[in-house]
């Protein structure tokens, strides 16, 4: 059976984690934050490794969000 994304509480110190996450972005301009977030996602994705699990996470992250149009430059 394919591995399942763990969405149960799994972080022992949730407040400390959250604080660290916000701290990571301290003093950064929005574009810099975007870059940090992207790097963070890539590092964590590599740590997880399992593409099935990653796909489940991507689907959860996007669920319920209605696309508000196509980004400029998107080709037909």
């Amino acid at each position: 059976m394919a591995a399942m994304l763990n969405t149960e509480a799994n972080i022992a110190a949730p407040d400390a984690f959250y604080e660290a996450l916000i701290d990571t972005h301290r003093d950064l301009a929005p574009e810099q934050s975007e870059l940090v977030n992207a790097k963070l996602i890539l590092l964590l994705a590599n740590h997880i490794g399992d593409l099935d699990v990653l796909r489940q996470a991507m689907a959860h992250a996007r669920a319920g969000i209605v696309p508000q149009g196509v980004a400029p430059g998107e080709e037909s």
């Binding site: 870059l35 992207a38 790097k39 890539l42 590599n46 980004a71 430059g73 080709e75 037909s76």
Partner: protein, 593 residues
């Protein structure tokens, strides 16, 4: 001129072949091939031919050689009288070289071509990482060579023109194609006016704009990329190493990508991404090209502009490659982005797949249905190529802000983190398709490890034949071959009888017995290697597994045997030889089951 260029480029390694047979001074870029009036132009009812190939690009020429070597006469029509204008395709992959080896033209390509192993990836103003391809040892051919398309076509053309069964007709433009129940009727325009001719089969190798496709009301569909690229071939003696350099967003060409690649004769390919808004005619003007190149090479760089072109591309394919008696191959059937060098390489694999099937059908040894398997196998190969080249394109030219952010994040991580280097995609180089879903395969009954599953192209390995060093892939192909691993050079009487019976069927199967290095061979056993023309009755050959690599790569034990197709793909395997099972697998692989 040419000869000097070769020597300087360092590609003139000495190979033990008769160089004098080639005219090394031919300038393939400017060669004009003669229009010659054909007798078909003087007959009233249209002349009838078995196969007409439309288009003398790398794909059409490869097919013509393959068919003629199998004894099938072939007419080749091309609307032009020149070889490829400009270098176009420059990377030819191992599998393509193996196919050309089977057709006797591979060595010449390798002799002229240059190889590289080191690639460097730059992001903005710094080197992110360098990689060494460190090719796996024990293969005759390198992962790929760089060679201008005009050399490739020039060599193919010379090989084709030397075959009596190839009828080359330059300045013969197909202007109409009509499907008739038992043939195709073509109208051909020449400098001396039009004529008509009939064919059992027409293979359309007429390039990405395929007039044949339009004549039949067919389409190639897919994704068009709104981007333009400038190609400049520059000749310079500057001491750039033979490496592939790829820049993302370099200071000398902000927000775009640049690729630098070496070709023979001290010619370098520089590829600049321009973006969609660039005016192609303006971009091509030397006054605009030269400053771009100087920005890369330095103000003082001395170079000569050899060829400049601006291109766009689409990733697309025809829904089906076979339309009755008209069969599409190469760029006519499918298109990819240039990232990964899959265009010419996949086209050559198309016709490698088609040639033997067409020959069997024309000989009445297989039903027409076999040609549908060409479509099925190569359509899925095209999907694989399109998928890979689309992924590369999306990495190289991100289509949205977030895609750009991730791309840049990957590149930033790549300098410190090896995992991220594997995400950097500056083109995944062409590898052959494994036809694992093909209906021509006989499913495995036993368990195996490794890559040689039914559908895989046969892996190479060093062998010894009659005391001489050779390569396995050089010894197979052209016809079906059964490869039997044996600890003993003298096969058991039952095995030998089975192999002889298989050699005598209507579709003869050649045999290769693979023995461990140093196993004693009976004199004479290695003589009479299977002929690759498919006309001679094949005999049993013995090869020594010089370094034990064949047994490893094929997960073989004493008795393991493989059935290999004429295009060198595996189609069945067993742990011991059973002539009846082999015959059944052959029937399946030829749609005779």
């Amino acid at each position: 001129m040419r000869r000097a260029g070769r020597a300087e480029s360092g590609s003139g390694r000495a190979f033990g072949i008769a160089r004098a047979a080639y005219d090394v001074d031919v300038d393939y870029r400017h060669l004009e091939l003669p229009y010659v009036r054909s007798a078909d132009q003087d007959v009233a009812p249209p002349a009838h031919h078995r196969v007409v190939v439309v288009g003398a690009g790398p794909v059409g020429l490869t097919l013509a050689i393959d068919l003629a070597r199998q004894g099938v006469p072939v007419v080749v029509l091309d609307d032009d009288c020149r070889l490829s204008v400009g270098s176009r395709a420059i990377c030819f992959a191992k599998r393509t070289l193996e196919i050309w080896d089977r057709l006797g033209v591979g060595q010449r390509m390798v002799d002229k071509g240059v190889s590289w192993n080191v690639g460097k990836v730059y992001f903005q103003d710094g080197l992110v990482y360098a990689f060494d391809l460190l090719p796996e040892s024990g293969h005759h051919r390198p992962a790929f060579i760089n060679l201008q398309q005009y050399y490739c076509e020039g060599y193919l053309h010379e090989a084709a023109a030397a075959l009596p069964d190839v009828d080359m007709r330059w300045k013969n433009r197909v202007v109409a194609a009509e499907k008739r129940p038992d043939h195709v009727l073509l109208t051909v325009e020449t400098p001396e006016g039009p004529y008509r001719l009939q064919a059992d089969y027409v293979v359309a190798c007429d390039g990405s704009r395929s007039p044949l496709r339009a004549m039949l009301g067919l389409e190639s569909r897919g994704r068009v990329f709104r981007d333009r690229f400038l190609i400049a071939d520059v000749r310079m003696s500057a001491g750039f190493p033979a490496e592939r350099w790829f820049w993302f967003d370099p200071p000398f060409h902000r927000n775009q990508s640049v690729l630098l690649h070496m070709q023979p004769d001290n010619v370098w390919r520089i590829d600049f991404q321009l973006g969609w808004d660039a005016d192609p005619e303006e971009a091509k003007k030397p006054g605009n090209v030269v400053p771009r190149i100087k920005a890369l090479l330095g103000e003082d760089a001395r170079f000569e502009l050899e060829w400049v072109s601006v291109y766009t591309f689409a990733c697309q394919r025809m829904e089906r490659f076979r339309h009755g008696r008209v069969i599409f191959a190469g760029d006519a059937a499918h298109g990819v982005s240039p990232f990964g060098a899959r265009g010419a390489n996949s086209g050559v694999q198309d016709v490698d797949n088609l040639g033997w099937k067409l020959a069997l059908v024309l000989a009445g040894k297989a039903p027409e249905r076999l040609l549908d398997s060409y479509g099925a196998e190569r359509e899925s190969a095209a999907d694989e190529n399109i998928l890979n080249s689309t992924r590369s394109t999306d990495f190289i030219t991100p289509k949205s802000a977030v895609s750009r952010t991730f791309r840049d994040a990957v590149l930033r991580l790549a300098s410190d983190h090896p995992f991220a280097r594997r995400l950097v995609n500056s083109g995944r180089l062409s590898v052959p398709a494994t036809l694992s879903q093909s209906a021509l395969n006989t499913p495995d009954r036993d368990a195996y490890t490794g890559a040689m599953a039914p559908g895989a192209p046969a892996a190479d390995a060093p062998v010894r034949v009659d005391g001489r060093d050779d390569w396995f892939v050089q010894r197979i192909g052209g016809g079906f071959t059964v490869m039997v691993f044996s600890d003993d050079a003298t096969p058991a009487p039952g095995v030998a009888a089975g192999l002889r019976a298989l050699a005598q069927g209507p579709i003869p199967i050649a045999s290769i017995v693979v023995v461990p290095a140093g196993a004693p061979q009976r004199a004479g056993e290695a003589e009479g290697l299977p002929q690759r023309t498919g006309v001679d009755v094949p005999r049993i050959a013995v090869v020594e597994d010089a370094q034990g690599m064949l047994a490893r790569r094929y997960d073989a034990r004493d008795g393991t045997c493989y059935l290999l197709r004429p295009d060198q793909h595996v189609c069945a395997r067993w742990r011991s030889l059973d002539a009846i099972a082999v015959a059944a697998a052959l029937a399946r692989a030829t749609c005779n089951a």
